[in-house]
Symmetry: C2
Subunit: 336 residues, 2 copies
Amino acid sequence: MPDIIRVTYDEMLEEFVRILRAVGFTPERAELLAQIFAENSRDGIASHGYNRILFFANSVKRGDVNIEAEPRPVARFGAWEQWDGQLGAGIINALACTDRAMELAREHGIGCVALQNTNHWLRPGKYGWRAAEAGFAFICWTNTIPNVPPWGGTEPRVGNNPIVLAIPCESGPVVLDIAMSQFAFGQLELYRLRDQELPVPGGYDAQGQLTTNAAAILESARALPIGYWKGSGLALMLDLFASLMSGGSSTYQLGQQTHEYGVSQVYWAVDISRAGTPAVLNRVITDTLDSLKTAPLADDNDAIRYPGERILKTRADYLAHGIPVDRAIWQAIREF
Amino acid sequence: MPDIIRVTYDEMLEEFVRILRAVGFTPERAELLAQIFAENSRDGIASHGYNRILFFANSVKRGDVNIEAEPRPVARFGAWEQWDGQLGAGIINALACTDRAMELAREHGIGCVALQNTNHWLRPGKYGWRAAEAGFAFICWTNTIPNVPPWGGTEPRVGNNPIVLAIPCESGPVVLDIAMSQFAFGQLELYRLRDQELPVPGGYDAQGQLTTNAAAILESARALPIGYWKGSGLALMLDLFASLMSGGSSTYQLGQQTHEYGVSQVYWAVDISRAGTPAVLNRVITDTLDSLKTAPLADDNDAIRYPGERILKTRADYLAHGIPVDRAIWQAIREF
């Protein structure tokens, strides 16, 4: 059984700043990065928060992340720009490109930044929240190393290429944040550690049978794309759009490296305020969400939830009562 | 057993023009619409070709489609425009908006047309092929009436909201054309008629169990979204983007009608030629497709295919040997 303690947001932020300073980031950059790691933890996304800070710090120590790099524009085509992340911190590049896509949308109605040579952006949904809280509808996605077999194959050749779609709403943004594999690898690891069955099949075992056994999937490296052939096709298309639009590496090219760095991403912002008053837009959204939430429930469900709905409740809980953290992980963070 | 005959593309086109003239379309419009129906048949998409022409003709006779309507611009925000389909033929509106999105992309690098008050566009992939053949990367999607339960619910409240992603390539476009339900309703009908099991679960039976029995799914009206909760979330977001960006009806609003008309769509074009020479772009794509196609095969698979790959082979076959058509359906078309 994990031994869980509660850590305040401020305590966590302070530890993260200390760690990021220790691996060489400037005070401002350490503060910015620490804030995102702490916010991801506060929103209940531990896998891209406190569970990842030491992995990130060690990748910086290994030299995988250029701590001084600034993203820079490569080409400007009007409402679409290409930027180069120069192998800097993925979070810093992602924040800059999210903001730049919003600027372009302010100017052209829609805006797109395609980013080459960047690194893992941690929690993708963060950028959707940021844009939606600023009043923009927003879509972004990334490619990854090959980690899912294409439909009909047994070896990883497509990425799980997470995508985010976000819509601003008065009651809080609607933010979908999903990978093209049925389960993230961190989730498979957790199910294996806890010796729990997955709720639905997440991949194939060594015999080629669909299974809910996470250990068998991690062993076979045959994770299941969402919707079988459909997710395999979606992952391919997201990769082609990201690599072609940015001029950066494709999943195939990333697979030629020893490990994942220098991925390609796209950020699309829509100045949705042009389409109507906040009252008109909110009415469309809340009518839609209400119709979902009032559908009759399937067995074993206590509620129908829309994407992002749980985040605000988790956030309020964790800010009031502290962020639950595994004691051993917190100890390791303190001792870094 | 269905009794299949082969009909040439030209014969089919001629019959379709006659039918469309008979329900009132002008010669040019009848020609344009007939061509799309015939091309969809020629590409092997019978469900959006000869299998649908009489349904379409009858919907025109009922007055569901305004045969004289022209799409018109409602608002221009720069690279993003809102258009009104004025309840005209979905194909005519879709062709116009695809072309307009490409014009906007030529001007701004990317372009988006959001379309309100349109009707069923038949085969969505058609518009991806059109744009990719003109050299554009392209994404479009539509909303629909509620026809899939949201995750955790038992009554249809989200649409299956088909989406297309297309990339131009020298050897032929890569075009993904998928709905957010694991199987289209036409497919479920076919499996039921043939008394065949679905290859993977496509929904729930009346007892709430996942099933591969198409009849049970059609009876329960509980089609499965791709990737369970993920496809349910994707369908919701695609609907919100389409309805908010176009100022048109949401899936919730379409559900208040007696049947489906006046749907909302978005068309995104990218002038991908700005990102590199054809040689550079084709290299990225063909390296990627080659890496997929050379992956070791899972049991029972003869090949790994990329989205759209089969279309060109089908097209060549059907143009050379005629389009296979059920004799009874062809008889009904001849007698209309």
